[in-house]
Symmetry: D2
Amino acid sequence: MPQSKLYMHKVERDQLTGWPDLAGRIEGKVHVLPIRVYYEDTDFSGVVYHANYLKFCERGRSDCLRLLGVHHNELHGTASFVVRRMVCDFLKPATIDDVLHVETRFIECAGARMELAQQIKRGREKLFEAKVTVALIDADGKPKRIPPDMSKRFLSRVESKN
Amino acid sequence: MPQSKLYMHKVERDQLTGWPDLAGRIEGKVHVLPIRVYYEDTDFSGVVYHANYLKFCERGRSDCLRLLGVHHNELHGTASFVVRRMVCDFLKPATIDDVLHVETRFIECAGARMELAQQIKRGREKLFEAKVTVALIDADGKPKRIPPDMSKRFLSRVESKN
Amino acid sequence: MPQSKLYMHKVERDQLTGWPDLAGRIEGKVHVLPIRVYYEDTDFSGVVYHANYLKFCERGRSDCLRLLGVHHNELHGTASFVVRRMVCDFLKPATIDDVLHVETRFIECAGARMELAQQIKRGREKLFEAKVTVALIDADGKPKRIPPDMSKRFLSRVESKN
Amino acid sequence: MPQSKLYMHKVERDQLTGWPDLAGRIEGKVHVLPIRVYYEDTDFSGVVYHANYLKFCERGRSDCLRLLGVHHNELHGTASFVVRRMVCDFLKPATIDDVLHVETRFIECAGARMELAQQIKRGREKLFEAKVTVALIDADGKPKRIPPDMSKRFLSRVESKN
């Protein structure tokens, strides 16, 4: 699909819905997604249930890819991204009604794999962070090289280390 | 699939796993599934999050069908059961560590539809009840007549009203 | 809490976060909340898992109350809203990447109870609808009269039937 | 609480429910919990949603503690266990109707912290594994030394490395 058509697709789905920030924003090299904590996210201990931070991160990755023009539906059938590894640090608890920010950064992209760094913050407080390894697999579950035009889009978002 | 093969399938998946009651039990006309309340099921108000009772009911229906020899995997591709309507009464709250019983009863089965009555209890206390309408649909989402040998198995479990 | 302070609270939590529509919008008598369908919301049949529509509705109710100045944290300790009854019709399936709208309308508010009507739409297509009975309960789980200044705010949003 | 009373508590809650294996079994040094994969656990890609393996692990830890006589309700109010860190490897996908086994092993227990190793298997296939760091915290969220009689019970389950 040519870049222009991808862009139209994105415009149609996100901007034209009338909710311009529904998929968050790309600010420089970082994708930021706001998330409200609802009843469903908490547990009886009074705070967000630990596994739900992984859901929040997945929403962040999905919307980051969306804003870069990569849609689940387009990939699906032929290939899909799956999580291979997550190193998760649960630093501080979030509570009901909180507005959180999921920050997603590309660290590396090579072959069939991507490395991402994700953080969940409440204002300036870091509540959660994760290193995430994602792989592209084909319909048989075998690793598949990330298409060059796609990896190019990811790599353009990698922060230089200098 | 002949009844005997269905039975072997059930035996293989449930009895031979070494956890004989994992899919609950059919006691007379009623299927009973025990469910433990874990952290994930509760919310910050201290009790089970309301939508999770619907998950518990779906587990009950799945395991009831399983013990009657109807497996998701067999149906899938050609047809699947979907929930059309649920009338849900949330009577009393369940809390962490509770052992609940999901009771599933067939009320009716005709054409593409089944009516079920489900209750969630803690001991003798009724905490939740629902009337559930389930429909069989084909791959295009259109209603599909429940195969006679399947509806026969369901109807044999309907309590007579006399 | 005086109306002005409630308003400041709302402003602080929602407008000043930099994500003005995070809690949706009140359009006339209807609260509208946009919701994106993510991986977590779907199941292996390819569409949104039925119980998750109840989660979407709860998000809609929470944000509707939020925009009317009623916060979970304020009520909690002394009282909280619980769902007593839901009559749910599952009309059409939603799929991954869909943008849905949860519409919430107040139907009635008397004593300890509120009746709401909720719909989930994709564009003009209605996918799900529910009648919801919510009750205010005290710390012991007993019904508690909805405070007059609160019910007044709800009733001002009830559509007249003429 | 004396050991005998803890045991009675366990007996009452688990054995006397009539579902003897509901909390799994301790086999030597390993706690094993069987888990059925239901609709709710899968996503539209056809397999179990990645974050749900963390839920399965939490069920395993809860039931392991339960069989060792440690109940959420007893700790709560004064202290609770929280997950600090999880290193998760997603090896192979699980699918609907699968029977999985969550294996939980104690690795270390010192001060306010416990290290556990968890695996999720389908038969002999390892699908998921995690190293989990859990901390005991008091009502203010501060680390709290694990009581000696409790850590003794955990340490008695640590496999010797020889």
